[in-house]
Symmetry: C2
Subunit: 367 residues, 2 copies
């Protein structure tokens, strides 16, 4: 048995689902905090779970280089290593190998590269990526793909997408079926609706446990992102989860859910938390700003997180100005809680058949 | 009523005490984690309390410059500001103004200096230091003193000590009595037993709620530190708490408790935690060391802290090597738990009349 996905409610294209993995169930729409190096930065695993998150993302590229997939396997797998009892999705390394590694050479076989940490030589192929993800013990494996730079000429995007589809097929074949574990294919095709549709059709033909939309949120703009979602979703099966990779801002999430997306990941809430930015029901706040220095009120009066219930904006401003680690801890806690509560609110609105109202009322800027 | 101190048990010069403040009781011997800028670095206040600590130290020098004492007062005081419901001791700024500030000028009145943050001009006097500590709302105020550099000629140490004693008297006069709040005088006199004894006698004549030994642990070595404790303690009243400032390593604490000390503060467990060092029952460990890379065991098998119960040495090594904030969080949690449990073990040994055995068995290196 693979990962099981059940649709619990619909409202237009938006849906509430339940994804059952070997490490528990995830209610969708869901946001996955990014835990690149086997830690969601500045957060204990207990604190991550307290935000409401029940799945985190691990990065194959980072983990294969340090501490190494075989080492994690010999230590009992990634869940045990990072003390995270809930679900883990690992990416395939395709995106990071293009953005971080040195001296890349792409061939039909895969990507040869040197580590950005120590210059050591590595080869990442669909088969190796899937095997690394198995060694890590991730519940949800991502197919290995090439991430095309944006912008690129259409011919380059098309050739890259076709290569990714051949790699998707090899990834699917390499995946070892285990109970509660699944593999997700990644739609590519840049900003070209017809390429996106062709990619989706090819993946469905191969057959995956879920479908992701990749290669977006890299500079093309929200309207184009949404257009690509609209070009892709109709070609995907209704009964499988849909994951928009690397997205995004709160209004990006709302607009994508409206268009039928179930899952997201993004470094925005965690990275912003480490640079003094907070997402609130009053909009984004920069805690570095001197206007917070004497403010006794919480970041967000309606938020349940420990940063909002225990501390003032004045204190958070002080911590940010002082470069204190606790600033990163509290603002990351808050931002991840904000994202978790945003997805929970979307689920409630969809169940109540009021998602259009929710969209209008809380996210006027969402398309 | 000032702070109340009760001796619960004795074993030789070592004693177990209970110090009652406006923000709860502290069992002594006690170690106070350092919370310089209104935060124990890399720790939430809940996590600090979970280590067992019931008192933390705040730094007057840092807090007067940022966020400012009047600001903290207008926000409800330091306890509320940093969300710490237990006791707070503040230092007087005397030590930091000498080690951190720029363009210092010392006069009978006090110390004029420029902020190391923005170059702004400030004057710290005994009266201002005590007032800042009142504005912060600290339970235990420290008298303002001059910290003599080590080594210094005897005449310089003597003149500095005499100045500190005049400042101690002014500090005592400036202190506003409040229920559950007290002021502690600081014995100076460098490495000269007779100056230490004279300083102690002078402070007792003035009359304080507790007595600290300052100006040590700055390079004179453990044997000299212990000798100065031995030269000072006989001149201090039995029924008041004794605080050895800025000390120290685990064996420093054990040796000082043996000589009648009740309270300690030191940046060692917190600062070490941020540089990959852990104190354990097997000695100090450097988690950067590659020998930990594949070790599935905990830091310290007998430790109750979340770092030891949830994670392996291999994982902690990975976090340290990766520069992850969670490394600082977990190692600080562990080190503060280690210090809290060391003081708890000393209290138990003293109550059981077995402190000499405890010293020999667990701290062979302690004098």
């Amino acid at each position: 048995m693979t990962i099981r996905f059940e649709i619990m409610a619909h409202d237009g294209a938006a849906r509430v689902g339940r994804l059952q993995t070997a490490h528990g169930a995830i209610e969708t729409p869901a946001f996955m905090p990014v835990g690149t190096a086997a830690t969601v930065k500045a957060m204990s695993p207990e604190a991550v779970a307290a935000t409401g998150a029940r799945i985190v993302l691990g990065n194959t590229y980072h983990l294969m280089l340090r501490p190494g997939a075989e080492r994690v396997a010999s230590l009992g797998g990634l869940h045990k290593f990072m003390n995270w009892p809930h679900a883990i999705l690992t990416d395939s390394g395709g995106f990071q190998v293009m953005s971080l590694a040195a001296l890349r050479t792409i061939s039909e076989e895969g990507v040869a590269f040197r580590s950005h940490l120590d210059g050591s030589k590595h080869l990442l192929t669909p088969e190796r990526s899937v095997d690394i993800q198995r060694l890590l013990g991730s519940d949800i494996t991502m197919a290995f793909d090439e991430c095309t730079p944006f912008p690129s000429p259409r011919e380059a995007v098309e050739a890259s997408m076709e290569l990714s589809m051949r790699w998707a097929e090899r990834s699917r074949r390499a995946f070892v079926e285990r109970s509660g574990h699944g593999i997700v294919g990644i739609v590519q095709g840049g900003v070209h609706p017809d390429l996106r549709a062709r990619s989706a059709a090819r993946l469905v033909e191969i057959g995956f446990d879920g479908y992701a939309i990749g290669g977006l949120a890299i500079g093309e703009g929200q309207a184009t992102t949404f257009a690509m979602v609209e070009a892709t979703v109709p070609g995907l099966p209704e009964d499988r989860p849909r994951y928009l990779m690397g997205v995004g801002k709160p209004d990006d999430l709302v607009g994508a859910v409206k268009r039928g997306i179930d899952m997201f990941d993004c470094v925005l809430p965690t990275r912003s938390g480490r640079t003094g930015q907070a997402f609130t029901r009053d909009g984004a706040l920069n805690l570095k700003n001197a206007r917070h220095a004497d403010d006794p009120g919480p970041l967000d009066a309606l938020c349940r997180c420990s940063a909002c219930t225990g501390f003032s904006r004045a204190y958070l401003h002080h911590l940010v100005k002082s470069g204190e680690i606790l600033a990163s801890m509290l603002l990351t806690t808050h931002n991840l809680t904000y994202y978790a509560d945003l997805t929970a609110a979307m689920r409630a609105a969809i169940r109540a058949g009021r998602f259009a109202e929710f969209t209008t009322a809380t996210m006027a800027e969402a398309a």
